[in-house]
Symmetry: C2
Subunit: 352 residues, 2 copies
Amino acid sequence: MTTSEIAKKLGISRGTVSRVINNHPNVKEETRKKVLEALKASNYIPNEAARALVMKRNFKIAVVVFSEPKFFWKQVEFGVNSAHNELKPHGVKVEYFVTDILKPDEQLELLRDLPNQGFDAIAIAPNNPLLLVEQIDAISTSNIPVVIINVDIPTANRLCYVGCNYIHSGALACEILAKCMNYNGHVLILTLQDQVIAIEQRVTGFRQELSNYRNIYIDQVSRFNRLAEGVYDEVYSILNKNHEINGIYVSFGALEQTAQAVIDANMVNKVSVVGYDLSETIYDYMKKGAITATICHEPFNQGYFAVKILHNYLRSGIMPSSSIMYTKLEAIFSRNASYYLNEQKHLELFHL
Amino acid sequence: MTTSEIAKKLGISRGTVSRVINNHPNVKEETRKKVLEALKASNYIPNEAARALVMKRNFKIAVVVFSEPKFFWKQVEFGVNSAHNELKPHGVKVEYFVTDILKPDEQLELLRDLPNQGFDAIAIAPNNPLLLVEQIDAISTSNIPVVIINVDIPTANRLCYVGCNYIHSGALACEILAKCMNYNGHVLILTLQDQVIAIEQRVTGFRQELSNYRNIYIDQVSRFNRLAEGVYDEVYSILNKNHEINGIYVSFGALEQTAQAVIDANMVNKVSVVGYDLSETIYDYMKKGAITATICHEPFNQGYFAVKILHNYLRSGIMPSSSIMYTKLEAIFSRNASYYLNEQKHLELFHL
DNA sequence: CTGAAAGCGCTTACAG
DNA sequence: CTGAAAGCGCTTACAG
């Protein structure tokens, strides 16, 4: 079925058929109806190749992330590149920007400048969410769609959020930890000293879930900065002092330091450790038994989907069916970690 | 960059440029080289829309699965439909066939008939692998590519296998079970009485991994048929007799019956249960604590990727970069199960 | 071996 | 409000 065939059948021109399909205003109501019916009756599907060819437009999409942890953002970047490769033949350019995690202002300045650089759409992983709300709203208002990844800013005028639900993410950590602790014992929680909403939500989810397990107690909550300074010393010393602890919940990026402390305190297999994200180093600690499980949130897809959503919107005006697209919570153990580490290679096959 | 611009620059026709790009034989070696250089120098990327439009070909792809367990194949079907929707506008038709699990011959007959029905490519989930080798070879030889999903037939002449590694799948189950049993206790293994390679491999992987845990013993291996008849009675009676058992490994599709027996024997939270696949019912049992964890193998992607791989091959001659594409081993707990259950909805956004 | 030309299905100024 | 026509970038018979 083509527009020509439809047109011939109705005795009109294919121009008019096309106008109806694309909702152009200047079509007589009667004609419109007639065409719509014929379209439906013949089960018409537009040929995307032809459409794309004639509507040729070149889009520029910017993706902005920050610098730490490097291995995490590398996986996001793989997803971005994968989408880029897939869309290159359709005239899409994607640029990837990394700002310093210690200089949140960099993101704000970048956000101010990107529209001038001719970008048609922006995906951003907020370093300091509150700092960006206003600028994101301004950008959206000027008709440049924004997708937020990794940590949501619900109050910002965004096309969509792509990332995990941090409450659920904390609850899952707790469920796994509780099961590996055989539903009883004492937990140490490691978290941030500064207010970072995502991490706070994880701990909230963890505590909520913990209320289901009456025989597990939180012995201590230790707080650190975003660079996880002092984690090793603290965990090592606590494990030496408090022999009741059989579970550690690492709510932020401090798995590697924690694992090393567990090894040095000779507590492998005596204390269960659950945290987040996956790197080669973390995988090594898992194989040694120093990390029980780690939880990931589809880093590859966060990058991949962000670009795809923006492109769909730019090209066809397709809005994501929901303003929140939660990534899966991936429970990773020693025996399935390799599949998640090599994901980029895995998926590259398809986006060539 | 377009073929016209390249042609103009070299003072030749775009027809010749196109011939070089598509490796047509009748081009003078000198011209070919000149064009190839210009192509590389200008970083030429062919416009896929234009190419697809002019090379318009309609492909018919068949996907063959069998009937049980229904919920599993439903998820595969979602993936197939998703790929189908994505490719419809490019002139691809996909048909989905379900054969009776108790009549393996149906697959063989179907495989004989599909080429006559004009199918250009076939994906099949073998019910009885050995039965199909010859016919798959015959089909491949007649230039119809075949992708095998779910259970591999390494000896068959296939384009690619999409599915899990069953040895790893058993090892992961063991790791999770061992951790939830606190590295000691007694295990009951449920498996099949008839030889089904995939299930045997799972048990092999499980046993291999178990050798790392010296304080866990296999008390008993119980065998059943593929329909899991008698599982409930057997598990219920074993749990009543043997109070040392604190772990059950369900190596085939019998999680629901096992979970119910655990509940009725009043052993929730006293015995850890690990098995495979995810349905609404299994999710309910997880929430009740009767199932510790279940392992999935990206059923959606098995269907989705199979179709995509075949289409890539038909359209562009792209071979999968490896003849084996392992799906991830997904560790699923009560707290992340919903993400895997609703996957189809989740992904549908993108394939509209 | 190569050029000129037709045509894939669609959209959109341009006339009227 | 609608038709006739141009053109998106590419491939491929058809001549030569």
